[in-house]
Point group: C2
Chain length 267, copies 2
Amino acid sequence: MRAGFYQSDVKPGDKAFNLARVARAFGGASFDLVVLAELFATGYVFASKADAAAIAEKVPDGATTAALVDLARAKRAFIVGSLVEADGEHLFNTAVVVGPHGFIGRHRKIHLPDVERRIFDPGDDVGLFDLDGVRIGVVVCFESWFPEQCRGLALAGADILCHPANFGGTMTPDVIRTRAIENMVFTITANRIGSERMGDSVAEFRGESRIVDPEGTILLQAEGAETLGLVEIDPSRARRKSSAVCSDLLAEIDRAGGSRGAKPLRE
Amino acid sequence: MRAGFYQSDVKPGDKAFNLARVARAFGGASFDLVVLAELFATGYVFASKADAAAIAEKVPDGATTAALVDLARAKRAFIVGSLVEADGEHLFNTAVVVGPHGFIGRHRKIHLPDVERRIFDPGDDVGLFDLDGVRIGVVVCFESWFPEQCRGLALAGADILCHPANFGGTMTPDVIRTRAIENMVFTITANRIGSERMGDSVAEFRGESRIVDPEGTILLQAEGAETLGLVEIDPSRARRKSSAVCSDLLAEIDRAGGSRGAKPLRE
């Protein structure tokens, strides 16, 4: 399959503009799966929970999810997007997964940095989705720093970790590559570029979106410019769990206690 | 404390030569803790289990452990070494921890790459040691690829992960930095340099030993030359488990299920 990321700047608060930019970037490109950056349609910084609530949407019955479904239908592809979800009084930092046949599911970010805890409640779903036989696990930005979550997704059968992100530091690229290595899965990180004012400081986003294969090879690495990054991958490679170093990774994970007695999916 | 690694080549099978090289490198240097490379006194490649058994030693009653204890006494410092341990019919890839007052303990490598499984049995100890109030966790090379082991050591209170290694690929430096980041601990990797014939091929070792702090900063990074790499670190920084991103890492690890209901050590 042809899979990758769309890395771009975001115009804060202007959903129509940001969604149109995604549509324009997709243009005549051909692909099966694209991951968008975290909060790609709204921006990341909110002065208060009320400000975030003002642009929040229900899922799946919101404008951003609907626009992504339209795009997925037009491109006959799967898209992992991200938005502020409203559910009663609660807000979530939510990834949505859509495809050629419509809405597939959502994942509410579990691990929230302090700056997000003022706004969002943590989610508690697993974040595993079946895309016509290819299984993806969705981890949103800082969630990637928790090996337990990625291990759980890999043992449940995820072939690809899809990773919408908004990071500014140098750490997350190394962390996500480690998730690919230790779980022998593909990872696709979509980070945004540009900056947003955050109180008296400025949040700068780093780009450096990347695609890593199950043996840790960086298949594609963006720098700091707008990039639609696509590569051809064979997701079934993530099911082998065997390398020249270790012929049976699942047995070693079991020895480490990583599967906690549960039977990992062996294929 | 002043802590670091000694990265060097190894003359296969010549323990006296390799131990003398360590003693010469330590020379007039002053330090509190040094990590040596995996199997620094013997080399890594064995044609058979019998070949490995021929240079194996009991622990602590073996020549290499005794030589390290002498060095530790002379330098008034702690040393993490590595050797082939014999215990009855069994061989282990064992790290030994020694200090100014003698032998402290051993850690038998749990996760063995295929090439080592022909030689060694896997260990099953935790690998946590108290060095007069500073706690170290020992992970040997490929063990670092298993987040569960490093997480367990960090939750049990390890301030520093000491990481004797023999790697040739590009992956392990990123992996060990991730262990520092996700656990907010120091890591000290000692990798060897040089090469060894391995059947019809040659195993090349990469060097690139590194010291990483609890916020992921690479404090020192060797290249491919012989290096005694030392930095001043404050191990108590690893006990804060709090950063600008996440003020309570232990609570998030608990949310991730990383502590599995056990009470992590909070100080």
